[in-house]
Structure formats: C-alpha cells, structure tokens
C-alpha cells in the first residue's frame, strides 16, 4: 500500500470546518482540565488558588480564566515528591516509560515524564507533521541526532516507524561518517537542525562530495531553530542539498505543535486538533487579532503523564487566517516562530541563555567577578565562547579550563569554548553589566 492519494495523515481532523475544530478544542480542553484537576497535584493547587473548578470552563474564551504556566513554576513543583517529577506527575510512577529533560538554560532543567501512551501521542503528532511534508512508507530517513536526554528528534524517529518509513539512526557517528552512510544507504529524507544541515553541507564540500548529485535526499525536516522558515537560510540549505526543506516547531513541554506543509506557505500550521495555541499580546495578555504578533501559549490537549495547561512558550509569532493551498483548516503562523520573548537563543537546537553561564562561573572559587559570553559564527555553525577572568593571585590550574568546559556543557547542554584571561583584562561596568556579545 503506497497511499499515493492520501494527502493527509487524518483527512477528518485536518480539514474540519473551523466551527467544528473549535468545538473539538473546547471538548478536549475541558477533558484536559478535568484530567489535571483530578491527577496533577500541581494543577489542582494552581486551579484552586485561582478559584477555578473544571465546571467553570464552558466556552473557549473561559480558558482565559486559567492562569498561564511558566517554566519557573515547573522547576519549583519538581522539588516535591514523587522524585524526580514532583507535583507535575499526573500518573503513577509505574506508568512512566520515558525520561527527557529541557536544556535548563534559564536555570535548572525541567524533567519530563512520558508514559507509553504519551509516546503514542508524541508519534501521532509527529506523524501529522511528517505526512504533511511528504514523508511516506517508501522513504528511508536518516536521523543524525545524539539520541540523548533531550527530546529533539526522538519522537520523529518513532513517528517515522509509525508511518512505515525505514529509519537510520545516525547517532554516534562523525559528520563525515553520517554523510557517507546516507550516501551508501541512499537515504531519501533527513531530519536535523538548519545549522547542522549547513554544517554537513560544508563538510561534504571538504570531502569532495556533491550532495545533490551523489546523495538521494529529497526532503528535509529542519527543527530546533527558526532557520528553515528564514527565506535565505531555507534557500541556502535547499540549494546545497538539492532537497525541499520544511520547518517544524515543538517543545519538550508543548509537544510537536507546528509544521510547514508541502505547499511551503511561508509559515507554520498549528495542529489545532491536538493543541490549543494562543497568540497573546505581550502587554495585555489578551488574544491578538488575526495579523497580530504576540507570545505563544500552548496547551497540549491530549497529554496525560505530565500535562500542561496554557504553558508560556516565550516564543513570539504572527497569527494569520489566510487559507493555505494544502486545504487544512489549521491556521498559520506567518514566518513561523519569530523569536524569543526573552533573550534566549538556540545553539544547535538547544536553548541557550547567556545568563545561565553565570551560575556555573560563579561556582568556581578560582575565578574573579568578570566574564564574557560571545556568540559568533564559525563557518555555518553558531559557537559560544566564554571568557573568564582569574582571581588576581590565582594561577591557571592545568585542568581548570577542562573542568569549566564540562560544567558549562552539563549545565547548558551546549558545547562552549573557554578562554581563561588574566585579571583586569575584561571590560568593567558601572551600572548594568553587559557581558553578552552577539557577533553573528
């Protein structure tokens, strides 16, 4: 069976008339509120504090009554029992089958519990994305991903299997070996960050390999950074690979909520059958009008083990109600995720905050008070360098640089270059410090 005429993963849900789609969202939202109120100690307390009972949610506008959820609340909730998920856990610990974590760039990581049922849900959401981008059972998909504690492409792997694609798990290989493996096995599709797609192209060039001529990659899902919807970046990747590039947006807490369809409409569809995504004015907190820009707040409507209501993604986006040629009734976010509402930036798919460096640097007694975080392009890759001043009388211990590198990697999830500087060489500040330099 090749599903040659099946345009949608689920033609019913993806083309529901808007009024029915909103009915579906309301029905699911009520179900989600009931579930968290009954099973999640964190949300029960939060809703009780706001004096809201599940029965108070009668219409879609009623959801505004529920206070939003911020990441710092999650960290606090995970300090309680049961370890390690705390009051966020809404199933028994015996039901948890997968551990993942956020990158912890704004502080401590948030631990994410998923049950097998939630993995089924994750792969359903991803299958919707992949099918919309033309992934089919006859595809051989290469995934050059570390398969570590960050959720990233794990669910993409499971969704490929669900669709029936053949998956090549490309973890544990060098970039050169990955390119050779894709060539050897005639992989037809690829999923990675836009930065890594460009890096692989650069490496292939050095290896004397012409990607469009010698490989068989026809489509690429790029995620983890906004690049695939930045026209110049998309064009650059498509030219270097001779493949179509599609964007996808997701989050550890939020799930796989957004995708660019094969029509490449210049934006991300929100999977409104599985998620309630609000675009809220950053000043007033009220929903923006179509064409308005605001902050994204997400509710994964069918998540069970560690669910979220109105989670503040801190991403900004522009809501559009223009129809898409693909025929889906899911609305578009024009230009995709436009940026962060705080100063976070993504490095090779991992959220990185310059302020997260401070916590690590300050823990080393050998260092003085000044440091600098520099973000720059090295070839196609974004790189972070941390310059740290020694204390006046402190000498550079032989293993100090390495220890700092390891601590930064552990804390931020990003590989960071380190330079130890003599005391008094970095800039001083009178009032507010500006230790972050973005040279990209």
């Amino acid at each position: 069976m090749n599903f040659s005429t099946a345009r949608y993963w689920n033609p019913v849900l993806e083309t529901l008339p808007r009024d029915q789609l909103e009915q579906l969202q309301l029905m699911k939202f009520k179900r989600a509120v009931n579930h968290v109120y009954t099973n999640s100690p964190f949300y029960r307390k939060k809703l009780d504090s706001a004096k809201i009972k599940p029965a108070d949610i009668k219409t879609l506008p009623d959801i505004q009554k529920i206070p939003r959820t911020d990441k710092n609340e999650l960290r606090e909730a995970q300090q309680t029992d049961p370890y390690p998920y705390g009051a966020l856990l809404a199933v028994s610990t015996e039901e948890v089958t997968a551990y993942h974590q956020t990158s912890g760039t704004t502080g401590q990581t948030v631990r994410q519990a998923d049950s097998w049922r939630d993995w089924e849900w994750w792969s359903e959401c991803w299958a919707t994305v992949l099918w919309a981008q033309g992934f089919r059972p006859q595809d051989r998909v290469f995934i050059p991903f570390s398969y570590g504690v960050f959720i990233a492409f794990w669910a993409g792997h499971y969704a490929c299997e669900k669709i029936g694609c053949e998956v090549i798990p490309g973890g544990g290989l060098s970039t050169e070996d990955r390119i050779l493996k894709m060539k050897e096995l005639q992989a037809t599709a690829l999923m990675c960050t836009p930065t890594y797609a460009l890096h692989m192209a650069e490496v292939a060039g050095r290896m004397g390999i012409n990607l469009p001529n010698e490989l068989h990659i026809a489509k690429m899902l790029c995620s983890g950074e906004p690049g695939a919807l930045i026209p110049a970046t998309k064009r650059r990747i498509e030219e270097r690979w001779g493949a179509k590039v599609y964007d996808h947006a997701g989050a550890t807490e939020g799930g796989a909520w957004g995708f660019e369809c094969a029509e490449q409409p210049g934006g991300l569809h929100v999977n409104e059958a599985m998620f309630l995504v609000e675009v809220l004015d950053t000043e007033t907190g009220q929903p923006v009008e179509p064409g308005g820009k605001g902050e994204l707040v997400i509710t994964p409507l069918d998540r069970k083990a560690q669910p979220y209501l109105r989670f503040n993604l801190k991403d900004t986006a522009l809501l559009s109600e223009e129809p898409c040629k693909c025929g889906r009734s899911f609305r578009l976010l024009k230009g995709g995720v436009l940026g962060r509402s705080d100063r976070l930036t993504k490095i090779r798919g991992v959220l990185f905050s310059p302020t997260s460096v401070e916590e690590v640097v300050r823990a080393f007694p050998e260092f003085g008070d000044e440091y600098q975080v520099i973000l720059q392009k090295k070839g196609e890759l974004d790189e972070v360098t941390v310059k740290v001043e020694m204390k006046p009388d402190e000498r550079d211990h032989p293993d100090l640089e390495e220890r700092l590198k390891q601590a930064l990697r552990l804390h931020t999830g990003v590989r960071i270059h380190v330079e130890l500087e003599a005391h008094g060489t970095l800039p001083r500040f009178e009032v507010k410090a500006n230790r972050f330099k973005d040279l990209r």
Binding site: Q23, L24, W116
Partner: protein, 59 residues
C-alpha cells in the same frame, strides 16, 4: 464518510473491551507479557479514538 467513521468507532469500542478483558485475564495468570502487550494495544486504541471517536462526538 461519517457512516464509515461510525463503523470504525464501533470496532474501536469492541477492541477496547477485548483488550481490557485480555489484560484482566493476563493479570489473573500473573503474565506480564499479556498485561504489557494489552497495555500497548489500549494505548494504540486511545490514539485511534482521538482520530475517529472525538470528531464523531461533535455536533
């Protein structure tokens, strides 16, 4: 389409009952292989319900 969806929904219901019964019997036999595989079937059926039963419940 709706008729076929309703037929699918009925099949999902029957399979759910069967999987729950299978799980119950496996528990009585102290057979993890039966319980855990039934759990996986139930998780898949729940996904099918999201695709089929939920839209059917709309007006």
């Amino acid at each position: 389409m709706n008729e076929k969806l309703r037929a699918m929904d009925r099949e999902i219901g029957k399979m759910r009952e069967a999987a729950q019964e299978l799980r119950r019997l496996a528990l009585e036999c102290d057979m993890p292989a039966g319980v855990k595989n039934a759990d996986r079937i139930l998780a898949s059926l729940e996904m099918l319900a999201l695709h089929v039963s939920d839209p059917l419940s709309l007006e």
